[in-house]
């Protein structure tokens, strides 16, 4: 599989080029910040009118990852819906699609800052999930260890010979891993940002998503 192997607190994980995290020993696939129905919320708030296809696009990619991995557990790491009203506006066919993806799987929606309440689709809804030795929660907290989180959507911009390359990225050090956003209409916070710099240890790495996931020291300048 096209991915980058890492170890966090003894757990052997694979960061996939798609932006998903695969934990083979637990048959667990984790995706973060799907922001489903973002277009609906943006339009509702008078923002740009984006076509309502991002949900389908995001689910298409998720289905492909599930197909590859045959994961038994799926953890959606928060901000799965752009907000609660957006979740209500989920098209019937997309709702059915999610139901099909959930069939035969343990599916966990972690609570995010955008989607704090329970939502009207299958699966369990939790504030956080502990699967020893790792904890899955939406927002990284200082002073914890063995934590998988999302929320910040890190991205990395890298000057190379002839081009600046900007990609969503995983950030990882000995204590934590911060996931990139999986949703189609999601931006990112550059790894240079002070919040990320203070969360991550000096020897942290960034793993860029894309056709060939690439690991580099986390850029901070």
């Amino acid at each position: 599989m096209n991915g980058c192997e890492i170890t966090l607190h003894g757990a052997r994980l694979t960061t996939l080029g798609s932006g998903a995290l695969w934990w083979a020993d637990q048959s667990l696939l984790c995706v973060s910040d799907l922001h489903l129905c973002k277009s609906e919320r943006m339009a509702r708030r008078g923002g740009p009118n984006l076509p309502p296809y991002e949900t389908r696009d995001t689910l298409t990619r998720l289905a492909a990852d599930l197909d590859h991995t045959q994961a038994r557990t799926v953890v959606c790491l928060g901000d799965s819906f752009d907000d609660l009203q957006a979740a209500q506006s989920l098209l019937e066919e997309d709702r059915l699609w999610i139901t099909r993806l959930q069939a035969g799987r343990h599916w966990v929606w972690i609570e995010g800052n955008h989607d704090p309440g329970p939502i009207d689709v299958g699966g369990s809804h939790l504030a956080e999930l502990f699967v020893p030795p790792l904890t899955f929660r939406h927002i990284a907290t200082h002073g914890t260890s063995g934590e998988i989180s999302g929320h910040y959507h890190p991205k990395v911009t890298l000057p190379t010979r002839g081009r600046r390359i900007s990609r969503p990225a995983f950030l990882v050090d000995n204590d934590r891993l911060i996931m990139p956003a999986y949703g189609t209409y999601t931006g990112g916070l550059r790894s240079h940002d002070g919040v990320l710099a203070s969360l991550m240890q000096p020897d942290a790495s960034a793993i860029l998503t894309g056709a060939v996931p690439t690991r580099i020291p986390m850029p901070r300048l």
Partner: protein, 803 residues
């Protein structure tokens, strides 16, 4: 023959003037439904256009709007107002003249709608806006004549298409409306007449005496132009000499950035402190107006300018035109030459200053063509449908409408005379619902159909949003620049957003001829402070990219074939000889490809001479083929004469790349997804009203606009590839950007005669390509390779094992 009324005859006599034959012709044909007058600059064209109006208004009282004057420039409207006021005042005619442009105050605009003047001077955008009001029938009641000035400048653009649609509207409101077009020398008067006529009625063409041939030549300098670049700094002493010898000189540049740099250098060399100003579209309006006033008052000896002064503002005393850089197109050169000397029957004087050695050749070719009267131009296809979509929205803003009547009205417009009902209905459906894929979306449900079949806005308050987004000009995204101080600071002008993004605090750049230091970005405004000492980083403006006409390109290729070049300056002849020695010169019936390393990457210069758009398409198709062949291209850029492709691997066998059938196969595939198409889509989607550039709250920044338009494009391409907006994007791309026909012509011309020459360095001919802007990145495996390289380097630097 219509005799000039005594009042007018006396006025002419008092001035010591005689009515020009074409002015008399216009008077005689005042009742013609449509008339096109072609006359050289300074030939009294404007008076010829207005004479029938003034005579009519002098002979009988008229209530309300009588004549509408439309010009492509608001500065021109102000200028004409001044010039018209003279005869009106001197003959004490009962005529009220006002202008209405983006600069007119809201109060005055409101008053004009309630109580229109006899003559209203306006722009296509302001006219479109006027037609969008429910009280349009009242405003235009009694309108008798429309004069479209500088119609050649409008006929080739979407602004012209929009204007003609608005004229169709006016014709419905005022069936007796007479149309008059005024134009300088054009290559195809019949095409312009067709666009002006109320189809299927004809439009008569009047040709005035073209006047004496211009005095046009290359500027001879002691210093040779550089190998590359666009600044023409070498010519500054010679240019200053010319400025000293003339009363007023206009110094034209093709881009604003070049104008800025040249102006800066000109001042550094201006030891006599000659008063010299700068004028271009990115400068703050107040500053521009100050310069314009100084020119009119005769206070300036020279004005460094760009296309904003292309059109006929009556400067009076301009006696020399200097064109810096190759004019790219003969018609524009002839236009600019016409700026000098507004006295009829005196030759205009112009000097061309090539900015680099390649341009020497182009300037020679252009002068030859201008003197031969061999103007260039490509026919325009049928009217673009994005403009039509906007027109339907404008119509809806004015009130409910009947689709049959609107269709009939639109097909009276020359460019839309071949529009099919199905083509119209598709646009109407798109405007009404957003088109199939977007149908489910409330925001795009703009129109509703009443039981009687008429169409109207679903939400009547939607008219405001429509009016805010009227227009077809696609500005490059710019940010305002202001001096930093506590009270907001003096506005200096605008820079491109993309350029602003490259600045970090402390960087210096040129604007309005002064060096400023970038301080911060606050709410879409770039704050700067004065900084006199440092050498500036250069402000970049995309500006207008002129495409060299194929006709000019062919002249250049023919010039290349000469054994020696006795008519060229020695440095250019030497340069071409050097190119011939180290590589070879492109030939009309062969294709030359040079392959050389530069800047750590392999570069290929492909000299197709097919014009910028075709060369751009070739770049897209070739990089796609190279990606398939594992040659890892990284990007390309296109100029009028060459495509430059860079990447990680050299081409060794060009034959499979230039297989025209394979290229044609690739066309459809890349049409679906590339940066150029996205750019086209964005422009068309904005014109068609799918993307609002302006919203009641705030103007969207370019990045926001392209963010949403790129996503729109991608998703429509994926889920609704036949959506009207994608059809329009393809039409637009084929129309201007793709020019695949020219690639096929080129392929036919060269046949199998492709020469691949591998060199160890840049060639003389390739050097100018390196400085071109408009690089298109290629997203492919080369990016993964670069990333892997950089990652390995970073890991090694950090002392970590490679992954």
């Amino acid at each position: 023959m219509t005799h000039l009324p005594p009042l007018f005859a006396d006025w002419f006599a008092a001035k010591g003037w005689q009515i020009h034959p074409h002015q008399q012709d216009m008077l005689d044909r005042a009742e013609a439904p449509a008339l096109l007058l072609i006359a050289p600059t300074g030939g009294g064209k404007t008076l010829a256009g207005f004479l029938p109006t003034l005579v009519d208004l002098a002979s009988q009282p008229h209530a309300g709007l009588h004549t509408l004057y439309v010009s492509p420039l608001k500065a021109l409207a102000a200028d004409i107002k001044r010039n018209l006021t003279t005869p009106v005042t001197e003959m004490t005619l009962p005529v009220r003249i006002e202008d209405r442009t983006g600069d007119t105050t809201a109060t005055q605009k409101r008053r004009q709608r309630a109580d229109p003047p006899h003559i209203l001077l306006t722009t296509p955008e302001s006219l479109a806006l006027l037609t969008s009001y429910p009280d349009a029938p009242h405003i235009f009641k009694g309108l008798k004549r429309v004069i479209v000035d500088e119609i050649h400048a409008l006929a080739e653009s979407k602004r012209g298409d929009q204007l003609m649609l608005a004229l169709g509207r006016l014709q419905t409101l005022c069936p007796d409306l007479k149309r008059v077009g005024l134009s300088a020398t054009v290559e195809d008067p019949a095409a312009i007449a067709h666009s002006l006529a109320c189809h299927p009625d004809p439009c008569e063409i009047l040709q005035a005496d073209p006047g004496p041939a211009p005095d046009i030549a290359m500027l001879t300098t002691d210093a040779a132009p550089p190998w590359s670049g666009g600044g023409a700094r070498y010519a500054i002493p010679a240019v200053l000499d010319l400025v000293r010898q003339h009363k007023t000189t206009l110094i034209f540049h093709n881009t604003r950035a070049q104008a800025e740099i040249f102006f800066h250098n000109l001042w550094l060399a201006n030891e006599d402190s000659l008063p010299i100003g700068i004028h271009h579209g990115s400068l703050d309006r107040a500053q521009r107006q100050k310069v314009e006033a100084a020119i009119v008052a005769g206070q300036l000896r020279a004005i460094v300018c760009t296309g904003t002064l292309d059109l006929g503002i009556d400067w009076g005393d301009v006696d020399l035109i200097i064109q810096i850089g190759a004019p790219k197109n003969v018609k524009r050169l002839v236009q600019r030459i016409g700026r000098a000397n507004h006295r009829y029957n005196a030759p205009s004087k112009a000097r061309l200053v090539p900015a680099n050695r390649f341009e020497v050749v182009e300037c020679v070719a252009a002068i030859d063509a201008a003197l031969a009267g061999d103007l260039d131009g490509d026919p325009r296809g049928p009217g673009p449908r994005d403009v039509l979509c906007q027109h339907i929205l404008i119509t809806a803003a004015a009130g409910s409408f009947d689709a049959d009547a609107l269709f009939a009205e639109i097909t009276t417009v020359g460019a839309y005379s071949t529009l099919t009902r199905a083509g119209f209905d598709a646009c109407l459906d798109f405007v009404a619902t957003g088109g199939y894929a977007l149908r489910g979306y409330d925001q795009w449900q703009r129109l509703k159909q009443a039981p009687d079949g008429t169409w109207a806005l679903r939400d009547p308050r939607g008219d405001r949003r429509i009016r805010m987004n009227i227009g077809t000009i696609q500005d490059t995204d710019t940010l305002k620049v202001r001096m930093k101080n506590t009270r907001g600071g003096k506005p200096l002008g605008e820079i491109e957003e993309a350029f602003a993004a490259t600045l970090t605090p402390g960087d210096t750049f040129l604007i309005g001829g002064r060096i400023v230091r970038y301080d911060s970005l606050r709410e879409m405004t770039v704050q700067v402070t004065r900084d006199a000492a440092k050498k500036p980083k250069i402000a970049t403006f995309m500006g207008t990219k002129f495409a060299t006409s194929t006709q000019l390109s062919q002249r250049i290729l023919r010039l290349f074939q000469q054994e020696i070049w006795p008519d060229f300056p020695a440095h250019t002849a030497d340069w071409l000889a050097l190119q011939r020695r180290v590589s070879r010169l492109p030939e009309p019936d062969r294709l030359l490809i040079e392959c050389f390393p530069h800047d750590g990457r392999t570069h290929h210069a492909i000299y197709g001479f097919a014009g910028r758009n075709a060369m751009q398409t070739l770049g897209l198709l070739l990089t796609k083929r190279m990606e398939e062949l594992g040659l890892d291209p990284l990007g390309f850029l296109a100029t009028d004469y060459a495509t430059l492709i860079w990447g990680l691997e050299p081409i060794t066998d060009p034959a499979p790349l230039f297989d025209i059938d394979a290229l044609r196969d690739g066309l459809d595939r890349w049409l679906a997804g590339n940066a150029v198409m996205k750019r086209t889509f964005r422009a068309s989607a904005t014109i068609a009203g799918l993307i609002d550039r302006n919203t009641p709250t705030a103007r969207k920044s370019g990045r926001q606009a392209s963010f949403s338009s790129d996503i729109l494009y991608d998703t429509l391409a994926k889920y609704d590839p036949n959506h009207l907006m994608l059809q329009i994007t393809r039409e637009e791309a084929m129309r201007g950007l793709v020019d695949f026909g020219r690639i096929e012509d080129m392929a036919r011309r060269i046949g199998p005669r492709v020469d691949l020459i591998t060199l160890d360095r840049l060639t003389p001919l390739a050097a100018p390509l390196m400085l071109e802007t408009g690089r298109v990145p290629v997203q492919g495996m080369a990016e993964e390779r670069l990333l892997a390289e950089e990652a390995a380097r970073l890991m090694a630097t950090a002392g970590l094992p490679p992954p």
